[in-house]
């Protein structure tokens, strides 16, 4: 029990510090968004190997979107799943170091963008952790 509490304390400190780090991490990607405008929200978080994060959003017919997803190199190649309003995957990308996709919708849709990090490599004794940032642009 003492060991678990020790781990929790370490992780708590690590995570609290990481919030600021991930905000900074996300900002590095902004130049790639042009000529799209940012939506005034950035989604940054710390993930471990085999973890996931997601952004729920309504995508509007008539708008064009650019999706930028950056991940810390330590995490390996990330994958994007696009899910519909019922949580069903409508498209999965291959695994990439970072993701930049342009997209549009033929009718207004509630979608969830899910980003998955790879499981730890064989022989890796602990999971790596790192920032993942998701930015959506529109025009």
């Amino acid at each position: 029990m003492k060991n678990i509490l020790r781990i929790l304390s370490i992780v708590l400190i690590f995570n609290t510090a990481s919030f600021g780090q991930c905000n900074g991490f996300a900002k590095k990607s902004f130049s790639k968004l042009k000529p799209y405008l940012n939506t005034q929200q950035v989604f940054g978080t710390v993930l471990l190997n085999g973890d996931k994060t997601q952004v729920s959003s309504t995508f509007y017919f008539g708008d064009e979107y650019r999706l930028l997803i950056s991940a810390d190199d330590k995490l390996g190649k990330i994958q994007l799943n696009v899910k519909d309003a019922n949580g069903l995957v409508v498209y999965s990308t291959k695994a990439y170091g970072s993701i930049m996709w342009d997209f549009n919708v033929e009718s207004t849709q509630d979608l969830t963008l899910e980003v998955v990090t790879p499981e730890a490599a064989a022989g890796q004794t602990t999971d790596n952790s790192g920032c993942v940032a998701i930015i959506v642009g529109f025009k």
């Binding site: 405008l37 940012n38 085999g50 973890d51 959003s57 309003a85 919708v105 207004t108």
Partner: protein, 300 residues
């Protein structure tokens, strides 16, 4: 349980505790502090299991552009007069009205009304300073705005940078709850502008269709506000749920999307059909409720 599994669980618990800490550090001071602290223990667990789940809402610029494309015109009379600035004393009021002015500023910029843009910019700067995020409205940024006053595209780009930077500054200052209130104020103002301007446009079907489509974004905003602790957020949440209740009177019809992808160019088109149509009765109720909520925000 292996060390990796323990670390994953510990990490999630760490996130929960981080959120609770951030919320408690940045919560409003006042008599409701005990209530605020007592609620999250039970209430936050299901939310934070998804510490990594985020909710996106359209920016005020996006809302303004959507209304313009749907046939809305520019009507200064529906915007929040800058004289009201002196009414905003509490943090909640400053945050919500920074959102309101950001929407008025964006709407004015979309319609290339440079004089109003500068006026709402000055009001936004004042509230931002009082919220401790003056650096976002630096003299350099203000100069860029003035210099590009006649260039719509540049102006929209600078405004989106400005409010993104304000939002991030609030989060970095452990004021996430304030940043959520700014977003909420902006969204309510966007809905208010849409519902009011629609009344003055002869062919307003497309505008009302857009307002119908705001349903999903409203739900996302509700999810976002519900992650914030404190009586200020509960109050806003209760108001937003009143709008949601009217939307929920009708069902959304959505067909499963089909995706066409160009993997070389990395371009995706998500097909499918959806119907967010509102009845006349729903439109009337939404217009009225949004006006009441917005009046409460701008005249606290």
């Amino acid at each position: 349980m292996g060390i990796n599994s323990i670390l994953k669980v510990a990490s999630k618990v760490g996130f929960i505790m981080s959120f609770v800490l951030l919320a408690s550090c940045s919560g409003d001071s006042g008599s409701d502090a005990v209530t605020n602290d007592s609620i999250p223990v039970v209430d936050s667990i299901p939310k934070i299991t998804s510490a990594n789940a985020f909710y996106s809402i359209p920016s005020p610029i996006q809302l303004g552009q959507m209304l313009q494309r749907a046939g809305a015109g520019y009507d200064k009379s529906v915007l929040n007069p800058t004289d009201n600035l002196t009414l905003y004393v509490s943090q909640k009021s400053k945050a919500l009205n920074l959102g309101v002015y950001s929407a008025d500023l964006s709407y004015s910029a979309v319609f290339n009304q440079s004089q109003e843009v500068m006026s709402f910019l000055t009001s936004s700067k004042k509230l931002a300073e009082e919220l401790g995020i003056a650096t976002s409205f630096s003299s350099l940024m203000m100069e860029r705005m003035k210099k590009n006053a006649g260039n719509r595209d540049s102006l929209l780009y600078i405004i989106s940078e400005l409010f993104l930077s304000s939002n991030e500054a609030l989060k970095e200052n452990d004021q996430s709850q304030i940043s959520v209130l700014v977003l909420a104020g902006g969204f309510v103002e966007g809905m208010y502008i849409g519902t009011q301007v629609a009344k003055t446009v002869k062919n307003n079907k497309a505008i009302y269709a857009r307002i119908g489509e705001f349903r999903g974004s409203l739900n996302n905003l509700i999810m976002l506000v519900s992650t914030v602790n404190g009586s200020d957020a509960y109050d806003v949440l209760a108001d937003l749920k009143k709008i949601k209740a009217v939307y929920d009177e009708s069902a959304v019809v959505e067909e499963r999307p089909v995706t066409a992808v160009d993997t070389t160019k990395k371009i995706m088109t998500i097909g499918g059909k959806s119907n967010y149509k509102l009845s006349d009765d729903q439109i009337e109720k939404i217009t009225e409720i949004v006006a009441t909520i917005r009046a409460k925000i701008i005249k606290p």
